[in-house]
Amino acid sequence: MENLKRGAAAIVGVAESDLGQVADGMSPMDLSAQAIMRALADCGLTLKDVDGLFCAMTQQRMSIVSLIEYLGVAPKFIGSSMTGGSSFEFHVAQAAAAIDAGLCNVAVIAYGSTQRSVGRKQASAREVNPYETPFKPFLPTSAYALAASRHMHQFGTTREQLAEVAVAARKWAQLNPVAWEKKPLTVEDVLKSRMISYPFTVRDCCLVTDGGGAIVMTSAAQAKSLKKPPAFVLGCGHGVTHMNISSMPDLTVTGAKAAGEAAYRMAKLSAKDIDVVELYDAFTINTILFLEDLGFCRKGEGGAFVSGGNIAPGGRLPVNTNGGGLSYCHPGMYGLLILIEGVRQLRGECGARQVKKHDTAMVHGNGGVLSAQASVILGTSATV
């Protein structure tokens, strides 16, 4: 983001709401409120300190208005950009800008979903596109499957390599106490699972869970006086290339390329400077595409890069250390949960899954069908 100042704002509080399968009757707003109170406790602030509020949800058409009603607050600045799962990475850039401009001082970004409890069809409105809907693609899965087919054709990527992404995610999930799926998983298990939209079996696809989260942001100056070490926002960037998969210019190159380049430019860093990577893995192809587009390997080499335990615990590059949308939690829109994991890794709070070197994190959100991409680079005080 041009003109956004490197390190001027920081994430100071983070928390998940209840995850997985939540109590009967719990609403997306209940989960958001629960996460907000936990995130404020995490940094030692209270609701009275919050004067900026951001959210986006699939079950609430005017979610920011619902959240204001629920909390009984009157924030000075609000935002509710809706770009699907990447909304929250967009919100981080907007909150950083608002804080730097003095429009608010303490911003909260929140999310909640009960999509597992209410069913996927109830959790988000179906949209009709007369140029796609008649062909009955199973969305979003078939859109990502089309991208995978193209990657396999163009670069020789294999179903086994896609499965390696799911296996690595599962290994990380086994180290995360709150992960939803922890059963051992092999490449063969992934390939033999129920086919959904070729080349994806159900194990190439993210979970369908309830869940939510919240993060608290403030200025760098105020961040230093709070309870936990700040995660400074070093870089932000985005790239929006299409809405519908039939309008994506090149199915093997995503908006993550533009997003990453802008974020690296602002952060004055490159991929080789990143210690831990949290990517939005709605499907196994995502991890491969984003590792390529964010510069961790060359275009076309993502399949080989994720193989042989390279991104699993103990591998060359720690990727999706919470277990990802594939094995940890995927409550409809997952982008806020990767920001939370990125911050916790920088703080060194991650227990068995903690990465050794943890000064910088690349958090990359994905929305729609590879449509709306947004990157946030976070760093510890050592990086500012």
Binding site: P130, Y131, E132, P134, F135, K136, P137, F138, S142, A145, L146, A147, S149, R150, H153, R194, M195, I196, S197, Y198, P199, N244, I245, S246, S247, L251
Partner: protein, 126 residues
């Protein structure tokens, strides 16, 4: 200014009803535009011409959907020779035998009832 008398989608469907696959061409961008719309997404020009495709193309990407009930079916993205891409399916061939790079030709599928006709494809060689 009076209201437009037709919509981009209605024009597209009226061509399909005549057995034609229509697309738009933007002289300002010197390239095809699809899906049909009022503004060229490459230049912002509102001067878009309707053209009829020769109906030949190549499979760009393909998947096979396995529904909870019923037989698996193909969904594909087709690159037409005039330089536009659309979502469709390839018929008259087993869904897993639809391959990227396969040459295909257009035909109209008329679902009947209230549903509009749609553009589907078959292998060119058949």
């Amino acid at each position: 200014m009076p209201n437009d008398s037709t919509s981009p989608y209605a024009t597209y469907v009226s061509h399909l009803e005549k057995g034609e696959l229509a697309y738009q061409f933007s002289p300002a961008a010197n390239r095809a535009v699809f899906f049909p719309r009022l503004i060229c997404p490459y230049t912002g020009s509102d001067q878009l011409e309707w053209r009829v495709s020769q109906g030949r193309g190549t499979v760009y990407a393909t998947t096979v959907v396995h529904p909870a009930e019923g037989a698996p079916f193909n969904v594909a993205l087709i690159d037409c020779d005039e330089g536009f891409r659309l979502m469709s399916r390839v018929e008259d061939v087993a869904p897993m035998d639809v391959k990227i790079g396969m040459r295909v030709k257009f035909r109209v599928h008329r679902p009947g009832g209230e549903e509009d006709p749609v553009a589907v494809f078959t292998p060119e060689a058949a």
